[in-house]
């Protein structure tokens, strides 16, 4: 019995998996958009940090140059 259950699981093809028993569009539409947003948000935050660091370090450098000259 256990063997046949394992055999069934092994037989599940990729096409069957993506078909999701007819609910493919709905299941992948949900998981897909969730995954997309949860990957994009950290990337956007990383870019924001880079931009912020760049902008502020430029101001800091300008200020120290002004101080050195005077």
């Amino acid at each position: 019995m256990g063997q046949s259950a394992a055999g069934d699981a092994g037989k599940m093809s990729a096409a069957e998996f993506f078909h999701m028993g007819g609910y493919g569009l709905y299941v992948w539409g949900s998981f897909g958009v969730s995954a997309l947003l949860m990957v994009v948000e950290p990337i956007l935050l990383r870019n924001r940090r880079k931009a912020t660091l760049q902008r502020i370090s430029r101001i800091v450098r300008l200020n120290t140059e002004v101080r050195d000259e005077s």
Binding site: G22, Y26, V27, F31, V33, R49, S57
Partner: protein, 250 residues
């Protein structure tokens, strides 16, 4: 007692919290990746097929955790806003500001995955049901909070206005939570409730809880990343920011 108090309040100063947040982000990122990875595996390969909804029910593993986070993040945001109003601490408002976009994202995901679940099961992407409508209002509250904070130039005034909006909006949270009880909704009642426990199969419940914990760790990691940028932007004219090691490069 007094030494514990001092330690606690130390982290309400932006430089100390900037440093602490920076050290916590990697940990919560790892926890989130591991939990969501395990949760996804269980969602598709371990959790059994539902006898009523077939494979379609698997949407629950993102829908419910996203909906929980949408409400939970709002409560935490309102809590930080309240602390900011009472103690006049700048960092509290920054935390509230850091949480709002992530909360809005989870609210959108709860609505989106709900639509993708409602279509096959109810035959409609959207219905003006009490649960769905109150969740939509939550999305508008998040957007309103972000817009209000962005619209006021004076940061302290922006913080106060945002805090009041966040606190007033908190009445919507119990409305969302109890909407399925108070009104006759198409949306089903709670599968997991504090008073009655769970009506789900054990494997399904564990999978959902693992996903929820993963989303929770993700939210903390992302909010801490965002608050670090907010702290830098607001404190850009201070000495401590100019002396940070990451400012010295280039």
């Amino acid at each position: 007692m007094s030494s514990r108090l001092i330690n606690w309040f130390k982290f309400s100063s932006p430089p100390a919290f900037y440093d602490l947040a920076g050290r916590m982000v990697p940990w919560f990122t790892v926890i989130a990746v591991v939990l969501i990875g395990v949760g996804l595996y269980m969602s598709f390969f371990v959790a059994p097929t539902d006898y009523k909804q077939g494979e379609g029910y698997r949407i629950i593993f993102v829908h419910v955790p996203a909906a929980w986070m949408s409400m939970f993040i709002y409560v935490i945001m309102a809590l930080w806003s309240g602390i900011g109003l009472v103690f006049n601490t700048r960092l509290s408002a920054m935390m509230a500001q850091a949480l709002a976009p992530t909360g809005a994202m989870f609210t959108f995901l709860a609505l989106w995955t709900g639509a993708f679940w409602g279509k096959p099961m109810w035959g409609a992407w959207w219905v003006w049901d009490a649960r769905l409508t109150s969740e939509l209002i939550l999305l508008f509250l998040y957007i309103g909070f972000i817009a209000l904070q962005g619209a006021i130039d004076d940061k302290r005034r922006a913080d106060r206005a945002g805090a009041i909006l966040a606190l007033v909006g908190v009445v919507n949270i119990p409305i969302i939570y109890y909407s399925v009880k108070w009104w006759n909704t198409l949306h089903q009642g709670a599968s997991v409730s504090i008073s009655k426990g769970s009506s789900m199969g054990e494997v399904m419940l564990i999978t959902m809880l693992i996903m929820a914990l993963g989303f929770w760790a993700y939210s903390i990691a992302v909010a801490l990343m965002r608050v670090r940028s907010i702290i830098l932007e607001r404190d850009r004219d201070t000495t401590w920011v100019s002396q940070l090691p990451e400012m010295q490069v280039r």
